[in-house]
Amino acid sequence: MKKLNSKGLTIVEILICFVLVALITVSVYSSISTFNNKKNVESYKEKIYTYKNTLTKIIQDDLIKNGLIRASYDLTTDSNNIEIYTINLSFRDGTSKSLIIKRRLAMDFNEAQENKEGVKKDDYFMIEYDQIEYPLPDFGEYQNDRGETIKDLRINNIIVSTNSNVLTVYIGLYHPDLSTRYGISLVCPINSF
């Protein structure tokens, strides 16, 4: 009968294996970590694009198909400290719709460290069009030094204008990994062309 090699591995061989595996793991860790971050960022971008494209398409379709003849806007703040931008759109067919942007910003970290007293405000964002709510995609949240909830995706600036008969609405979005690169932009001439 054939004689089997039953010596097994020596301690030196096992140690060499461990060292090799450790070296390979360390060398690919940074690549995998970078890849993972990139994958997360791409996933955020995809969700923002879906949200932005849906909302833009719904509003622009109305502006194009119904024809915008008048636009007005105002800014109020309610008792819950929520800023409310109301943009009223009147169309050629006699109908009118409202785009409402609601925003309440919690203090960022530096502000929260300096000002630990006073009324606490959690982040709150909502966009409504034609009485339908379009909540921002949920990317998670954390708390500042005052215990206020800060959302990872925030509405950081809102610009509304009707100068020279052109309605402009810009809703700027902020995310720590994407900065202010993305936003919802609506431009439409009023009762013209």
């Binding site: 009968m1 054939k2 090699n5 932005k52 494209n53 833009t56 398409k57 622009q60 194009i64 204008s161 100068n163 020279s164 008969n165 052109v166 402009t168 900065s179 202010t180 690169r181 932009s185 609506l186 431009v187 439409c188 001439p189 009023i190 013209s192 062309f193």
Partner: protein, 183 residues
């Protein structure tokens, strides 16, 4: 009983396989890596904001008040393009102001709004023959566009190409869009 070969791999065999694998992966990497850049560039081609913005410029060109003369059409045939200008709106000063404001608000670069023939081949040729007059990114976009040789289903004779200049976080970036025009 048949004797088994249980010597395992020789060092040379292992090395040959390793070199073979490294070669295959390096070929794959060099071929796929440029595709990532291509995908990132195309994020700025005909995106939703540029598409709706160019739609309003198209409405201006298609309106009765925008003047596109026979001489302009001849120039498009001869040179491949003419440039769009709000000054070509006849009569109404308010409409000119609205046109200017639309360009400003959409970020359309007034020097980079081209009215070209529906089929893009003449414009591609013009850009290719005068590379120094066009930004490299714009040239890439124009190269990327199809020639549209089958013609328009809507009977459009012309096409708009617009470069949009956006600034976010003090960084400039450009997006590009095209749309057919019936005039």
């Amino acid at each position: 009983m048949r004797k088994l070969n249980n010597k395992g791999f020789m060092l040379v065999e292992t090395l040959i396989v390793a070199v073979f694998l490294v070669t295959i992966f390096s070929i794959l990497y060099t071929n796929f890596y440029p595709l990532i850049g291509e995908y990132e560039r195309r994020e700025f081609y005909d995106d939703i904001d540029s598409k709706y913005s160019i739609y309003w410029i198209k409405r201006i060109v298609q309106s009765g008040s925008y003047r596109l003369t026979e001489a302009d059409k001849t120039t498009i045939d001869r040179n491949g393009f003419i440039k769009f200008s709000c000054n070509n709106i006849i009569g109404d000063e308010d409409q000119k102001a609205t046109c200017q404001e639309t360009l400003t608000r959409t970020g359309a670069d007034p020097n980079n709004i081209y009215i070209i023939d529906f089929v893009t081949s003449d414009f591609k040729y013009a850009v290719d023959n005068n590379k120094s007059s066009y930004d490299e990114d714009l040239r890439e976009y124009i190269n990327y566009l199809p020639e549209f040789t089958k013609g328009s289903l809507n009977g459009a004779q012309f096409r708009l190409i617009v470069v949009f200049h956006n600034t976010k976080d003090d960084n400039d970036f450009y997006s590009y869009a095209t749309i057919e025009v019936k005039k």
